[in-house]
């Protein structure tokens, strides 16, 4: 029987990690295959594999070379990557509130101008999206979402900002995302969410998992202030709609 998929590339990331690369670009099929392999490794652990890091197009597999070698692990990963990707893998759906524009999303007006439309239309299009957490990286809880509609694709800022606020919801290139900790960013800031995707003394510490679905909804500044206080005290705020 012919293999259902083109085999991924097995790239050495030093002597203790393999990058299983499904694509060189951001593409939804690659992302689904990454998340599928990630789930297989969670359910059927391979001795010696210590952790996996999903990204848009590849799965980084950390392992202990005193327990398994590159060739043996590579072969196993290549085999597992041939398994069919379940059509309707159950995934959690989160509804996340966002205050758009003004001081919460300083780039909303500019993005509307750039795309030749109104700020309200940008917000309407952004909340209409059904997104998926493709990866979490850079800083704790920084969640990169796939599924941004073509109309909202932009080039990144010429001059990245050195500091963008905690809770920022932004767009950049073909992606949208939620950042938890203040930090540098070259993306366009549309709004702010009171939801903490990472909070140290809360259970769970990390709210979102790679593979989770996310929908945004709009709240006003007063609701933001109330929810932000509650979130500060450990409330999750985001609604889990489906599991």
């Amino acid at each position: 029987m012919a293999a259902p998929f083109s085999p991924p590339r097995l790239l050495p990331s030093g002597d203790s990690a393999i990058t299983v690369e499904f694509s060189r670009r951001i593409d939804d099929e690659a992302s689904r295959r990454v998340l599928a392999l990630d789930r297989i490794l969670a359910r059927e652990p391979i001795a010696g594999v210590s952790e996996t890091i999903p990204t848009y197009r590849s799965l980084l597999v950390h392992y202990d070379p005193t327990k398994i070698d590159f060739a043996t692990l590579g072969q196993k990963l290549a085999e597992l990557a041939q398994r069919p990707v379940p059509a309707s893998e159950k995934s959690r759906l989160w509804r996340i509130p966002v205050t758009y524009g003004g001081e919460y999303g300083v780039d909303l007006e500019d993005v509307a101008k750039m795309l030749g439309t109104t700020p309200d239309n940008i917000v309407a299009r952004h909340v209409a999206g059904d997104y998926r957490v493709a990866m979490i990286g850079f800083t704790p809880g920084w969640s990169y979402l796939s599924g941004l509609q073509d109309f909202l694709h932009t080039s990144r800022r010429q001059n990245p900002r050195l500091l963008t606020p905690a809770g920022t919801v932004s767009i950049g290139g073909v992606q949208t995302g939620v950042q938890c900790i203040a930090g540098p960013s070259g993306w366009h800031l549309l709004g702010c969410t009171p939801v903490r995707t990472y909070q140290l003394h809360r259970d769970p510490i990390f709210l979102l998992e790679p593979g989770d679905r996310v929908k945004f909804y709009q709240i006003d500044a007063k609701t933001y202030a109330e929810q932000d206080r509650a979130a500060e005290h450990g409330e999750i705020i985001a609604e889990l709609v489906a599991a």
Partner: protein, 351 residues
């Protein structure tokens, strides 16, 4: 409660252990000691578990005072002049700081980081199973930041018993070994050859997040933007300006620049210890060789406690010599590196 007070300390000094692995998929940086051999050696000397939290000391000096009791510490990693109340303390040994006394450490000599382990470790609650400081994210125990003069660390009182020394293997020298990839195909063969054949220096702007390299410009084949993927300790990424950056313990968990090669596990600590401005080279090795070296390095760390020895016998010899009234000269004649007692000819034969 016995305390170790930080009287002064080099910038870039922090509490580090083996790191917090396991949550990189949520963007959590592992952190951990830059030179694991140094951390493990110091902990062995202090009688601790191999990856017990210790103080990683940056290139400048430091001073630590014992309060409300004596504190046993141990030093390893890049050597420094060490002294307590004017008495020189040999490097790669444990030593007990008496209550009220101060251990003074000089500049790092020929490296970047030294490790001060404290017998019994440090008191505090780990975060994600680790004490390692990651100041950017506000993690670390007992302080989520670099250590500062005036900090006090709660520690165990020194146990009785002899001090220890350790016979470390001969330091590995020669080029820093790398495995090519994961994105070496983003570079021409000429660019890869230039990378391997050139002399490099570590820029002074380097830190625990990344070491910036100074050398020839390494050009990309298809531009410098790739879709972000995961990073490891020792990933060598090449940003738009063609000057490689080696990702270190406080790296971001993902990155969007092509990675030409990766420093092998066995050489990561040795690379971390190269001082800014010192010239070095890379050498590509096969995956088989890199994994063989990784296994040897893991075995070295595991068996390091077998290399310990008590210093007691020498102390007794010195006391015996003092009792025999043959000299203060004998006390200072212990060679700090070999622990051989060398005496001027004729001393022992004196009447």
């Amino acid at each position: 409660m016995t305390k170790l007070a930080v009287s002064s300390i080099s910038p870039a000094s922090s509490v580090q252990d083996g790191g917090r692995f396991g949550a990189q998929r949520y963007g959590l940086t592992p952190s951990g000691a830059m030179d694991r051999l140094g951390l493990v050696a110091a902990n062995c000397l202090a009688g601790n578990g191999l990856f017990t939290p210790a103080i990683e000391i940056g290139p400048y000096g430091a001073a630590f005072k014992a309060r409300e009791g004596a504190v046993r510490v141990a030093m390893s990693g890049t050597p420094r002049v060490a002294e307590i109340a004017g008495r020189t303390v040999a490097w790669d040994t444990s030593v007990t700081i008496a209550d009220g006394e101060t251990l003074k450490l000089g500049l790092a000599q020929g490296g970047a980081f030294s490790y001060l382990a404290i017998e019994g470790g440090l008191r505090g609650e780990p975060m994600f199973g680790s004490f390692s400081v990651n100041a950017r994210v506000g993690l670390g125990t007992p302080f989520p930041r670099a250590l500062q003069a005036g900090d006090e660390l709660s520690v165990a009182a020194a146990s009785p018993g002899p001090e220890r020394r350790i016979d470390l293997p001969q330091a590995v020298t020669g080029p820093i070994r790398i495995v090519l990839g994961p994105q070496n195909d983003e570079f021409s063969n000429e660019a890869v050859t230039l990378f391997l054949d050139s002399e490099w220096k570590i820029s002074a702007t380097s830190d625990r997040m990344g070491y910036r390299l100074e050398g020839p410009v390494i050009k990309h084949l298809h531009g410098h933007n790739i879709v972000s993927d995961g990073t490891v300790n020792g990933s060598i990424q090449v940003p738009g300006n063609g000057q490689p950056i080696v990702l270190m313990s406080d790296r971001g968990t993902s990155g969007g620049y092509p990675k030409i090669a990766t420093v092998i596990t066995a050489d990561f600590g040795r690379f971390a210890q190269i001082p800014a401005g010192t010239a070095f080279r890379f050498r590509a090795v096969s995956m088989e060789e890199a994994q063989l070296e990784a296994r040897k390095f893991a075995e070295l760390l595991r068996t390091l406690p077998d290399r310990l020895a008590a210093i007691e016998s020498f102390d007794l010899n010195i006391e015996a010599l003092q009792d025999a009234n043959v000299a203060g000269v004998a006390v200072s004649a212990v060679d700090a590196r070999t622990w051989q007692v060398s005496l001027p000819a004729g001393v022992l034969t004196q009447e």
